[in-house]
């Protein structure tokens, strides 16, 4: 029921009911190969590496690149520039590619009549249906950013919700505030819950980058978010309803 695939320097874990067939796994591998060949900044043969080195032009871009770039442009606008993929003239779509991959894997599973699953790709999670192990909703724990293994909150994900967390604890300060051109350090972690995995992933990163502007943004846009800062948790009342009591 659980499949693990190493790709894009991360582990992709799919828990599904029923189990994935070989042909579904082949479809997923083909998708991941396409994404890796297109967007991997650390592969000199990828399209984006060649584009950044001026060995390719935007006119040569594969269809998937055009689609993801348009998506990224939409989110850059939605987040008032806090979601950014271009820096010093170089393009890097790592902030959205993982979510795009999850979204496409979800489509593959649904097309193959797999309706109960959880896709976990580097901590970004998409659920569908229920967890048949316990015959109940999928429940995802939010990691304590200050310790190794503790869970701070459990979120019950009905309505096929997705959940993503951005934080600095795994690799030092790594999210840039693109407006101020400095690393974002205000939050210890930011978690977003949404029906769309692309929404949850991009908004988690953008809210982290927004720093203290994130509070008003989630209230204006009605985003389900949970912030951890200085050993305290802040979250909307709508998110409270999803927390296991």
């Amino acid at each position: 029921m659980i499949r693990k695939i190493q790709t894009m320097s991360m582990e992709l874990i799919i828990e599904s009911f029923p189990e994935l067939s070989e042909s579904v796994i082949d479809d997923i591998n083909n998708l991941l190969t396409l994404i890796d060949d297109t967007f991997n900044n650390y592969n000199s043969n990828s399209y984006i590496s060649k584009l950044n080195l001026k060995k390719k032009t935007i006119d040569d871009s594969p269809k998937v690149f055009k689609y993801v770039k348009e998506l990224a442009d939409e989110y850059r606008k939605k987040t008032n520039g806090y979601f950014e993929y271009e820096f010093n003239g170089f393009l890097n779509f790592n902030g959205i590619v993982k979510a795009y991959a999850i979204s496409k894997i979800k489509d593959i599973l649904l097309t193959n009549n797999i309706n109960n699953f959880l896709i976990n790709f580097g901590g970004d999670i998409k659920t569908h249906g229920i967890d048949l192990k316990v015959n109940n909703n999928w429940v995802v724990g939010i990691k304590n950013p200050y310790t190794k293994n503790d869970i701070l909150k459990r979120i019950k994900l009905y309505k096929n919700y997705s959940i993503s967390t951005s934080g600095s604890y795994e690799r030092g300060y790594h999210i840039l505030n693109p407006i101020l051109k400095k690393s974002a350090t205000y939050f210890d972690s930011v978690t977003v819950v949404s029906e769309s995995i692309i929404d949850s992933d991009v908004f988690a990163t953008a809210l982290y980058a927004m720093e203290d502007n994130a509070y008003t943004y989630i209230l204006e846009k009605n985003i389900l978010a949970l912030f951890i800062k200085n050993n305290k948790i802040y979250f909307n009342s709508n998110l409270q309803k999803l927390c296991n009591q």
């Binding site: 659980i2 950014e84 580097g122 701070l152 790594h174 205000y186």
Partner: protein
């Protein structure tokens, strides 16, 4: 419960990442805990070229100073070693490792991004109180999975490898 590993993409890159991922996970969690971490050279990949080759965004901008005292049986020299600065596309970082008695004792990330300012106390004072807030506490109930920031920076890995190579030189 059936588990299966499928490897695709750049085998060399993934091999490098896999071989040091466990080290990184453990090290990152212990940066502030002063925990000694053994890093035998057999686990240290011999080259960074599989990560850095053709990486248009990785720009080695400096080679910070390192200090050494003596070699040890592990092949790692004692002292502090800083890897080349690496640009991940969004920021520039370098990684410093400290070797004590031939053992990797700490890793730190040096952030080289330009600084700025701009917290708005007025906005925070208006919006933050509208959110529920509570002190953190551990929840040990049933979970299907964990959401956390688990994505590794290749810039981090590249600079770390460079620092370890200097310690082993």
């Amino acid at each position: 419960m059936k588990k299966r590993n499928i490897v695709i993409g750049s085998i060399a890159t993934l091999g490098l990442v896999a071989s040091i991922s466990a080290l990184l996970i453990y090290s990152q969690h212990n940066l502030d805990e002063n925990v000694n971490l053994s890093a035998p050279t057999s686990k240290t990949p011999s080259s960074t070229s599989t990560v850095t080759s053709g990486t248009s965004q990785s720009t080695s901008t400096s080679t910070p100073t390192s200090s050494t005292t003596s070699s040890s049986s592990s092949g790692m020299k004692n002292g502090s070693f800083t890897g080349a600065s690496e640009n991940s596309g969004f920021q520039t970082i370098s990684v410093t490792v400290n070797i004590k008695n031939g053992v990797l004792s700490s890793i730190s990330v040096n952030e080289l991004a330009t600084d700025g300012s701009g917290t708005s106390a007025a906005i925070v004072s208006q919006a933050q109180p509208m959110l529920i807030n509570e002190a953190i506490s551990t929840d040990s109930g049933y979970i299907s999975a964990v959401s956390g920031a688990t994505y590794f920076s290749n810039a981090f890995i590249t600079s770390l490898q460079d620092a370890l190579n200097k310690a082993s030189a």
